[in-house]
């Protein structure tokens, strides 16, 4: 019997049973698959059981007592998707967030997400406007951007998603940005994060012996350790927080020891400008001018950020960085004249 068919048959049997189904009975019903008395039949059944669980079908063994015989069952309460009992606006949040993520194509567990969105129509009595809005969100991004590039990055993301979930080590070929060198390295994949519309892999790099981020578009290839797929290869280091890493500003990535830097902005800073300096920036406003202080561990990155604000901003301190800004702008001005 084909596996897909066997799994569904097994699920149907256990779902319909009002009492636990004994191993002997299962063997009788599936003589070609679990027949015989050997260990092999039990192991095959256990593998199927694990696959059913991965599909969201929890098969449980219950030991018998006076009233109940021992055997396997699917707890209906624990099987059927319940109504999420969400208020319309919360349901809208799920629909909108899910469809926007799907529209990106490249999203961790994108396939699972698509299945989840389908199931969502059962998780509420009347999704109504939210479902229409979700369709609209998908429609809006329908023929957006480069299909091939997306397909490629989504397949890499899929491989990495699976590796993150199973805690399997990956071997990647990476094209570094700073030195433009290809390196090969083994990474313990801790998680995936998005920033500025691009995805990054965060993990423990065995080459650098430290936690590193890898821009997905620069990961040339991914190979997931194929050995014992159900056994984790690593544990995540204590104290690691993906959210902390993901929300770090570019000048907060440790290249050198922390340096206090001061930047002046003209006029009151807009909410976007404030956001762009991050939550750890200290602001002082006076006389229609704002001075912001940040602790930089990568002054070059801060310089790039300040330059991008054009003549709205200037670096006040430290002096060498101010001098660097002047040099960069002077060199550009020379090229322009």
């Amino acid at each position: 019997m084909q596996k897909a068919e066997r799994l569904l048959d097994l699920a149907a049997l256990l779902l319909r049973a009002s009492e636990p189904v004994s191993w002997r009975e299962i063997q009788e019903q599936f003589p070609d698959d679990y027949g015989g008395s050997g260990e092999a039949a039990i192991r095959k059944f256990e593998r199927d059981k694990a696959e059913l669980l991965e599909l969201g079908i929890p098969v449980r063994w219950v030991g018998g007592d006076e009233d109940l015989s021992a055997g396997y069952l699917v707890d209906k309460e624990d099987f059927y998707l319940p109504d999420l009992k969400l208020a319309p606006e919360d349901l809208a949040l799920l629909y909108l967030a899910g469809s926007a993520a799907l529209a990106q194509r490249a999203f961790p567990y994108a396939r699972d997400l698509a299945h989840a969105m389908n199931k969502l129509s059962f998780a509420a009595r009347a999704p109504g406007a939210s479902e229409v809005a979700a369709v609209a969100a998908l429609q809006l991004s329908a023929d957006d951007a480069d299909e091939d590039a997306r397909a490629e990055s989504s397949s890499r993301l899929e491989a990495l998603s699976a590796a993150v979930a199973a805690k399997k080590r990956v071997h990647i070929v990476y094209l570094g940005a700073e030195r433009r060198v290809r390196t090969e390295r083994d990474v313990d994949p801790y998680g995936l994060y998005q920033r500025g519309g691009a995805w990054f892999l965060a993990g423990f790099c065995r080459l650098r012996q430290d936690i590193r981020s890898f821009h997905l578009a620069r990961i040339v290839s991914v190979e997931v350790n194929p050995a014992s797929p159900r056994t984790p290869d690593f544990t995540v280091r204590k104290g690691f927080s993906l959210a902390d890493l993901a929300t770090r500003e570019s000048w907060e990535f440790g290249v050198h020891a922390p340096v206090r830097c001061r930047v002046r902005l003209d006029g009151p800073a807009s909410p976007e400008e404030r956001d762009a300096f991050g939550p750890r920036a200290v602001w002082k406003e006076a006389d229609g001018r704002a001075v912001v202080e940040v602790e930089a561990q990568n002054q070059e990155a801060l310089l790039r950020h300040v330059l991008s604000l054009g003549d709205r901003a200037e670096i006040l301190a430290p002096r060498p960085l101010r001098e660097k800004a002047r040099k960069v702008l002077a060199a550009l001005a020379r090229r322009l004249s």
Binding site: A129, G191, T247, G310
Partner: protein, 321 residues
């Protein structure tokens, strides 16, 4: 009824997940068109018909005639005679729920932790710990605006109520009050947009969420957009005007080309530098973008963009006497 073998190439796991949705969906929507099922599942109609064929062989031991699933197609519509307890889909798997929860956290809104809790409850009991562990491994971005603001927008979309927003238009550097019929939210190149019908301008427009300063839900209800309106809808109209041309040094090129965007690479030099074209962006955007590479990029054209860049450089330089 005879058992049929599954077509050899079908991805078994994917098929199983699909049919576990498809059967209950057809139970709930008797006579659903094959086309609709195909669209919902993101596969071809042929694939759906093959799935239905496969399902004919599925049943419950001891496989008496009434023990089989019985779905049939009549004039392109799917009916279910016997569903063998597959009347609702299974609970969310941990990765389904985690992906959805991560997406919800990235959008935000007052309900975001409520929906994460609801998703957790919708995972089978003994998989909830794995769900939490997995959710900690995905960070899909920081919410684009305050939770209260997003919450009101979500409410307006769900209840089809107009929104009164105070909106900052970056190109004009000014704020204005608009009344918008919020259709949906969408994300593009790292930014979130509210897409809806602007009453004052009489057409559907995108509004960047981080530029909505204030918003209030109106009592007024609006009619949902028509299918035609949605089909025509694009977040942005086709780029007008000449594309901006930029020269990127090796470092800038490595960074820039890895970002999502509509680049066209015109030239690539041996050291890794590039000349690229970007359609539909303003002179201001081009200047800021080039300057964000700290001297490793410059705007080449068109003349107005080059001038804008040059002026910005000279004025910025004047701040460092």
């Amino acid at each position: 009824m005879t058992r049929k073998a599954a077509p050899p190439k079908a991805d078994a796991r994917d098929r199983l997940r699909r049919v576990l949705f498809l059967v209950p969906y057809a139970v709930r929507h008797p006579g659903v068109p094959v086309r609709d099922l195909a669209r919902r599942c993101g596969v071809s109609e042929k694939q759906i018909l093959e799935d239905l064929d496969f399902l004919l062989g599925v049943g419950c031991p001891p496989f008496a005639p009434d023990d089989f699933l019985d779905l049939y197609v009549e004039g392109d519509r799917v009916h279910v005679a016997l569903h063998q307890s597959f009347s609702r889909p299974p609970r969310f798997t941990e990765s389904e729920a985690a992906a959805l929860a991560a997406a919800a956290r990235a959008l935000g809104g007052e309900g975001r932790e409520r929906v994460v809790r609801a998703l957790r409850e919708a995972v089978p009991k003994d998989r909830r710990a794995i769900f939490e562990e997995l959710l900690a491994c995905i960070f899909a971005g920081s919410p684009p605006a305050k939770d209260s603001l997003i919450g009101r927008i979500e409410q307006a979309i769900a209840e089809r109520r107009a929104l009164r927003i105070r909106y900052f238009t970056a190109t004009r550097g000014e704020e204005s009050v608009r009344v918008v019929h919020p259709y949906t939210l969408a994300q593009r190149l790292g930014h979130w947009y509210l897409w809806g019908h602007d009453e004052g301008r009489g057409k559907a427009l995108p509004f960047r969420l981080d530029r909505i300063r204030e918003c209030a839900v109106d009592d007024k209800r609006f009619e949902p957009p028509t299918d035609a309106e949605l089909t025509r809808g694009r977040l942005f109209s086709e780029a007008s005007g000449p594309p901006v041309k930029l020269r990127l040094g090796p470092l800038a090129a490595a960074w820039a080309l890895a970002r999502p965007g509509q680049w066209r690479v015109l030239k690539r030099d041996r050291k890794g530098g590039a000349v690229v074209e970007v359609p539909g962006v303003s002179d201001e955007w081009a200047t800021r973008f080039a300057l964000s590479f700290g001297g490793d990029a410059e705007v080449l054209g068109p003349p107005s963009a080059r001038r804008h860049f040059g002026d910005a450089v000279r004025r910025a330089l004047a701040r460092y006497p």
